[in-house]
């Protein structure tokens, strides 16, 4: 019973979800059954602003895309630490820890930079897919 009590606040959400789901199904069904269906060869072709597609529509991306995207994500996300540091720097200074905070961030940045240099020298940034 306790579990039910605990979950009862979510009943409206559940009802809403059900309602939305049923509504979607209803509309889709209505369109399928009620709409007129007269398919001709002309209607199946690409229309006005398109040309017939060539080859597999699921073409594969080069691994290079992943590589660059990943490198971006990693370095981008590491920079997330800089924002709180920046906003708190004055507080640190007030406590007499300004230099400590500065050196701390410097070593962090240096390590990141080392990573960047490594990636660079490894040739991961050179774009020749």
């Amino acid at each position: 019973m306790r579990a039910l009590d605990y979950l009862s606040p979510y009943l409206p959400v559940l009802i809403l979800l059900l309602f939305a789901g049923v509504l979607c199904a209803l509309i889709g069904a209505a369109a399928t059954f009620l709409g007129p269906k007269r398919i001709t060869a002309i209607k199946e072709t690409a229309f006005e602003c398109g040309s017939p597609s060539i080859g597999d529509s699921h073409s594969r991306h080069s691994v290079k895309f992943y590589l660059v995207a990943l490198l971006f994500v990693v370095f981008d996300v590491e920079s997330v630490f800089i924002y709180p540091w920046g906003s708190l720097l004055r507080d640190f200074q007030a406590e007499g820890l300004g230099w400590f905070a500065y050196v701390e961030m410097l070593s962090f940045m240096a390590t990141l930079a080392l990573g960047l240099v490594y990636v660079w020298r490894k040739g991961a940034l050179e774009w020749n897919p």
């Binding site: 400590f100 080392l114 490594y118």
Partner: protein, 492 residues
């Protein structure tokens, strides 16, 4: 907010290892054009590992003290684990040298990754804050995942790494969820604050849910049943020197953290003991049982690693009572050290066998071990020694380790568990000795010999492991004293 630069000294081994990794990465990209021969990297890595070993042993006598406002701690327990990790790294570097050389696969990243993961292991043993534990865990794990996939030959290494990665990340997420619960329940991520919450009696359901999730996360890392499924596939697919390092290092660090979380975080409640006992029963049974039908030595060693996790869990369970915890902790440390030395040696021998098989993309089979004694009597003798040590037969390290663990279990009133352990360990002889039989079997006509060459460094490591195994078995006094001094932090 305060910061004591001396705290950095407390994490010196981890710092040394991380610095070594950075040095290697830098040299890999800058020295490469100048010095195309990259063999020096193994020796640089070994030197840093040795420095880490030296640092952790040098700190052994220092009094225990919290670091970084309680986020980590510098105590004997952590130093011993760090020493085991560094020694494992040192030996693994030497083994990997000849292995990679003969496969022509030496690249700087290998040793850098190994150093990074060892750095994570050392931190893991010291961490007393759930977030720090998580970060160290990831530093260790990510590097090890990459090491598994390092050998880009055939499907097996990459696939092993993939499985390890998926399951390991899954377990990390579960651990982290537990950490979030613990934070919610106590308002802090420090283990000490968690302990205070447990002690105050205001522990809620949330606390116990967090205990379960945290324990599950590390039960995965130590390969306790039913979180063991990854072990055979990963051990099988990864390059043998990596497997040896994983078996020794990851296990040591993960067990150290499991103990920290349970004893330092949830110790007073003591409710976890029964569950660890249950895990220990299950792990010893399943590990030993499933090792029996294995025909691949690597897979057999993987299941044996599960079984050994079971014996180590016995020691952890023994720490869950009011009986002297230090005894059980000492037994745990001794077991970790002895298992590490044995398993690195065993995988070093496997590495020598595997080099040939790796080129043809085959898994190893017992039949490829037949007649090893004819070609390489010393190698065969060493392998036999490691096998009987794993089986816990005197006079080897394995026997001493099991003896101390079971004894601590008996002192903690876990007599049925100890007896079950004795029975399963004796049953384990069956599959260990099968390897010995094959090694000494008269080979059939087409005995494919392991070719020599570049055996020297691996041979040195194997000899070192064998020496340690024998030394710990015949004269365990000094090792046991070290373990006891390290375990003293857990008090009487």
């Amino acid at each position: 907010m305060n910061f004591n630069p001396g705290d950095l000294y407390g994490v010196l081994p981890a710092l040394l290892l991380a610095a070594g990794a950075l040095v290697l990465l830098t040299s890999e990209v800058f020295l490469r054009p100048v010095e195309p021969d990259r063999r020096y990297q193994a020796w640089v890595a070994a030197a840093f590992a040795f420095a880490g070993l030296w640092a952790s042993l040098a700190q052994l006598g220092d009094p225990a003290q919290p670091l970084f406002a309680g986020a980590a701690v510098s105590d004997g327990f952590a130093h011993i684990v760090a020493a085991v990790v560094c020694a494992a790294l040192f030996l693994s570097c030497i083994v990997a040298f000849s292995y990679l050389e003969s496969l022509r696969a030496t690249r700087g990243e290998f040793y850098a990754l190994a150093l990074f993961s060892a750095s994570g292991m050392c931190l893991l043993a010291q961490a007393t804050d759930l977030v720090v534990i998580f970060i160290s865990l990831e530093v260790m794990s990510l590097a090890v995942y990459a090491l598994c996939a390092y050998l880009r030959r055939g499907k097996r290494p990459a696939e092993a790494a993939f499985k390890y990665f998926i399951l390991g990340s899954f377990a990390s997420a579960i651990f982290l969820y537990g950490a979030a619960f613990a934070f919610g329940a106590s308002g802090s991520t420090r283990l000490a604050d968690l302990a205070a919450t447990v002690r105050s009696g205001s522990a809620t359901t949330l606390v116990y849910a967090s205990a379960a999730l945290l324990a599950a996360g590390f039960a995965f890392k130590v390969a306790a049943v039913p979180f063991h499924m990854w072990v055979p596939d990963v051990y099988d697919g990864a390059p043998a020197p990596v497997t040896g390092f994983m078996a020794a290092g990851v296990k040591a660090a993960a067990f150290a953290t499991l103990v920290r979380i349970l004893v330092s975080g949830y110790g007073e409640g003591g409710r976890w003991r029964g569950l660890i006992v249950a895990l220990a029963y299950l792990t010893m049974l399943v590990g030993n049982l499933l090792a029996v039908p294995q025909r691949s030595v690597k897979r057999m060693l993987a299941y044996s690693s599960i079984a050994h996790a079971g014996y180590l869990l016995v020691a952890v369970a023994a720490m869950g009572t009011s009986a002297p915890r230090a005894d059980a902790a000492g037994a745990l440390l001794f077991y970790l050290a002895s298992y590490g030395a044995t398993v690195i040696g065993a995988f070093a021998v496997v590495a020598i066998i595997e080099r040939k098989l790796a080129l043809s993309g085959l898994g190893d089979d017992l039949s490829s071990w037949a007649g090893l004694s004819e070609k390489h009597p010393a190698l065969a003798a060493a392998m036999s020694l490691f096998m009987i040590s794993l089986a816990g037969v005197p006079p080897t390290a394995g026997f001493m380790a099991k003896l101390t663990v079971f004894r601590s279990a008996i002192e903690a009133d876990l007599v049925p568990l100890a007896i079950f352990g004795v029975i399963t360990s004796v049953a384990g002889l069956y599959y260990y000795l099968r390897v010995v039989v094959y090694v000494y079997m008269v080979p059939e006509a087409k005995a494919d010999a392991v070719q020599g060459g570049r055996l020297l460094s691996a041979g040195l490591a194997i000899a070192g492991c064998a020496l340690i195994v024998l030394w710990m078995g015949v004269l365990p006094g000094s090792f046991a004293a070290l373990a006891q001094s390290g375990a003293a932090v857990f008090g009487r």
